[in-house]
């Protein structure tokens, strides 16, 4: 190692970030959070020593940035391997096509699509009310504190949405909130937050969740009702026609030729194929949405306190 040993907390976090540069953005956020908790507690525990004296010993207690980085890499790889049960992935065409019914991600993504109408409405309302009240109150004394509380809540909502997306799609999202170093003054932290690209992309995400949520909900509901209707209408028709049991109301299929016996199996087949397509679509939407959410909510390039000072240095 030819780089200098870190002499301040920000310096240490910067080196740790560099060591983890190739890793998942969410993992970097967690690692920096843990390191900062330890380093600040260690500095606070030695009030008689200066920050650089405490940092001098850090490599032998907490570990040098490269050691800590490799610990996170190893643990992440092991946890990932242990938590994902090996699945037989069907590669041939037909079983790969219908294999989607065995993939829990397809069901959770479908559920996410249905849920996103509700979360979309909540996020949109939250963001629009927060922004407009912030703008309206800006001329009053309480305007600035209100805006800061709103931004703090935005980060909590962003973390919660991340947890939801990880649960539904399996995409790794942060398990710790964003935390800015406490060394900088209050106003410079506010300034950094305003300059942070992620602050604004998070707000954009919350607002865009309403149209996206409506689209997801409509696609899921229309897709499910169409395919389920195609699948089960022939059965209901037969039940009604031959008196196996009596479904509520009269069952009729339009156009009438669909009610002929030769057409019924085809209708069911179309229904099953449609349902499979809907499941594939849901899984795909889940994956795309996870990537999209990660771009807007988690950004490795977003300047944190350490990053801003690195740029200034």
């Amino acid at each position: 190692m030819n780089r200098s040993a870190p002499r301040s907390i920000d310096h240490y976090l910067r080196q740790l970030r560099e060591e983890l540069a190739a890793e998942d953005a969410a993992l970097i956020q967690d690692a920096l959070y843990d390191a900062e908790e330890y380093l600040r507690a260690e500095v606070a525990a030695h009030p008689d020593k200066s920050e650089s004296d405490v940092l001098e010993l850090i490599a032998s207690t907490y570990g040098a940035p490269d050691e800590v980085a490799s610990a996170y890499r190893d643990t992440e790889a092991k946890v990932k391997a242990a938590m994902t049960t090996p699945r037989k992935v069907a590669t041939s065409g037909v079983s790969a096509f219908f294999g989607v019914f065995l993939d829990p991600r397809a069901y959770t993504s479908l559920f996410f699509m249905l849920l996103s109408l509700a979360t979309g409405i909540i996020y949109f309302t939250f963001a629009v009310i927060g922004l407009s009240l912030s703008a309206g109150l800006a001329v009053l004394v309480i305007g600035i504190p209100f805006f800061l509380v709103f931004m703090a809540l935005t980060r909590v909502v962003s973390l919660a949405e991340g947890r939801l997306i990880e649960a539904m799609t399996g995409e790794r999202m942060p398990r710790r909130p964003i935390h800015q170093s406490g060394t900088a003054g209050f106003w410079s932290r506010v300034g950094q937050m305003l300059k942070d690209r992620r602050t604004w992309t998070t707000l954009a995400y919350l607002i865009l969740m309403l149209p996206l949520g409506i689209a997801y909900f409509v696609i899921a509901v229309v897709g499910l009702s169409l395919s389920l209707a195609f699948t089960f209408a022939p059965l209901l028709y037969l039940a009604d026609h031959y008196g196996w049991f009596y479904p509520p109301g009269n069952v009729h299929m339009n156009p009438a030729w669909l009610e002929s016996l030769w057409a019924l199996p085809f209708t069911m087949l179309v229904g099953v194929l449609l349902l499979t397509l809907v499941m594939h679509l849901a899984r795909g939407v889940g994956r795309l949405h996870a990537m999209y959410a990660k771009t807007l909510l988690v950004s490795p390039a977003a300047p944190t306190a350490a990053g801003v000072q690195a740029a200034a240095a």
Binding site: E37, A71, V79, H179
Partner: protein, 120 residues
């Protein structure tokens, strides 16, 4: 002896042991502990020098928590970011008992060969 050889051996050994020690520490403790506190307990048990680099326990804590062996809650802190306090779960206790038995068996097995050289 080459220092890097010793380091590598220690690192390989630590792989599974960190999890066992963390579960044991949290099982002994009557209150919830956060990462820094656990690190300091480990260090003080060994005359101020932890066998593990303290930075390596955090990812393991998160992994144990993800496997439902620990639960955690977040408490704000004056000195830095909010602290995450950990507590062992019932599932964690049964895993700890299982791992303890494995560790005892392994230690006895290893000692059987190592002690031969020293005993008369």
């Amino acid at each position: 002896m080459d220092d890097s050889n010793g380091k590598k051996f220690q690192k390989d050994l630590n792989g599974g042991l960190v999890g066992l020690v963390l579960l044991a520490v949290l099982n002994q403790s009557t209150e919830d502990l956060y990462g820094y506190e656990i690190a300091k307990r480990l260090a003080s048990a060994n005359e101020g020098v932890s066998i593990f680099k303290e930075g390596t326990i955090y990812p393991v804590l998160r992994a144990l928590s993800a496997a439902h062996l620990l639960t955690s809650r977040i408490v704000p802190s004056y000195s830095g970011p909010p602290r995450r306090y950990y507590r062992i779960t019932d599932q964690g206790r049964s895993v700890l008992a299982e791992w303890t038995a494995i560790w005892a068996g392994t230690r006895n097995f290893v000692d059987r060969f190592i002690d031969k050289g020293h005993s008369p």
